[in-house]
Symmetry: C2
Subunit: 304 residues, 2 copies
């Protein structure tokens, strides 16, 4: 049983003073470390890093109190958070669940959820795992990219909550609430479908826009001269980490393929209308697209 369980059951306890292990101290893990230490949820943070330089940076930046080998870090954390690429996480999670005792909780932060949930579906310690995805990030990478308000007022999605134990789920929820995040619950496949359509597709549109401009603009000076804030905003995600995104696209290939088909269909339609000089139809399509502004305004106002 968890040491905070009796208090959580009674009501609105804010958990403080946890021993938290974070595997991967990059943008997500590092930002989480900063925020959980600042709000008191964690008083001791143990980091795990494959990349030695990142481990040293995380210590210098005060993200972790110590960086330990994986097994030792797993044994010491009351809450173990996995913040590495989704393929590495899917491989590591069963091994962690093999090692933990019943008072430990494991949570991952990956952008795809069906793959990782399926590999531990029948694990005897499945109830100790909470599948999560905080909808937060920037195009930057590594411990130096960590920022303490990355998660503030953002959405945290929890998948297959019925497969997590009651206590483990409550602990994960308290962690996200301590960051002032809004909790949303979904089935794993449902999450992956919507993530493909909304988040993953916009990353590919940006990566390929970057490839296109680098391909057809041979003289970079022209990019400097013609690029306004609009270009910068649209192509910003093309700076994102290939190591993190290639496994996401691989695990979410099926839904992404549908999303890309639809995107290419609209681009082809738009191009045909431009080629045939159908200005009014082009204008009408843009008027339809404008409707996304209403949704963006809702997001900016924090109504989501």
């Amino acid at each position: 049983m968890y040491r905070f369980w009796e208090s959580i059951k009674k009501g609105s306890l804010v958990i403080r003073g946890m021993e938290v292990t974070i595997i991967g101290l990059g943008l997500i893990g590092g930002s989480l470390a900063m925020a959980l230490r600042q709000n008191g949820f964690a008083t001791h943070i143990i980091g795990v890093e494959n990349n030695e330089e990142h481990g040293e940076q995380a210590l210098e930046l005060g993200l972790a109190d110590e960086v330990l080998p994986l097994d030792e870090a797993i044994s010491k954390g009351e809450m173990i958070i996995i913040a590495i690429s989704v393929d590495a996480a899917r491989k590591l999670l069963p091994e962690i669940l093999d090692q933990i005792n019943e008072s430990q909780t494991v949570m991952d932060m990956g952008s795809t959820k069906a793959g990782i949930c399926s590999v531990v579906e029948n694990h005897p310690n499945r109830k100790n795992y909470v599948a999560a995805h905080p909808i937060a990030g920037t195009e930057n990478t590594g411990p130096k990219a960590a920022i303490n308000n990355l998660f503030f007022h953002k959405v945290a999605i929890i998948c297959e909550k019925e497969k997590s134990g009651e206590q483990q789920l409550a602990l994960a929820e308290q962690l996200f609430r301590s960051l002032f995040m809004k909790l949303v619950y979904m089935a794993a496949k449902e999450h992956d479908l919507h993530a493909a359509y909304v988040s993953h597709l916009s990353h590919i549109s940006s990566f390929t826009l970057g490839l296109t401009v680098l391909d057809i603009e041979k003289d970079e000076q022209n990019i400097f001269n013609l690029a306004g804030s609009g270009f910068a905003s649209t192509v910003r995600l093309a700076k994102s980490s290939p190591e993190m995104w290639a496994p996401i696209f691989e695990q979410n290939a099926e839904y992404l393929s549908d999303a890309l088909d639809t995107y290419i269909k609209w681009l082809t339609k738009f191009k045909k209308l431009i080629d045939s000089k159908q200005k009014n139809e082009v204008e009408e399509l843009m008027r339809q697209a404008n409707d996304v502004g209403r949704i963006l305004d809702g997001i900016e106002l924090g109504e989501k």
Copy 2:
């Protein structure tokens, strides 16, 4: 002859106290009015507005001292700036050049340049016209979208400068310098080619991303829940004005068609690699795309 000409010839005069007519008091015209009044380049600003409500807003916001009918406004301006859609500008410019005297200068702010330059190529007052394009904007529209630092440290492109008179060109250059803009000179077709590749394509990628997400996400709540700052940034331009952009796409159709072909080619290649689970190749493409980050950093640092 211009009243400032002798001083400009002698050196570094900063022009002050001009009578400026601005046709179209939206995002671009309104922002220009604000900035030119603030820095003293203009002391009296005459506005022209087709949209009565926008005319009233412009007066309330202090963008213009008076809003006058077109002919009267043309007769009064020492400097006449056209900041309306590129099709309306192309129609209006020859009529303005018919009416002006030799001490007046006309400049347009349109995002395409070959079309407008061609209609006045042989006009007897061609030398009184300066073809310009400030690389600045936001996704917002109308007088209320005007912001006084929109042009600060941005690029102003001047096309076919050899066809403008020496004095008229110097006056236009002083206007842009008064806004701390960097001047770049191009042929009109060259401008349109690079604008298609860098600026116009990113608008279409964003408009069609908006259409795609609205098309496949039937439940808006999913967009709210899954949309992070990355989605918002990539789709931001989909809020842009259809009335302004449809004529730009029409006038730049040829180069845009090439740009869209290349974009669709890269998207199709990316999709094939995802479909066939070629993770390493996907990762390699993203690494290529990352290179755009180096260019974006240059833009943010104002090195352009």
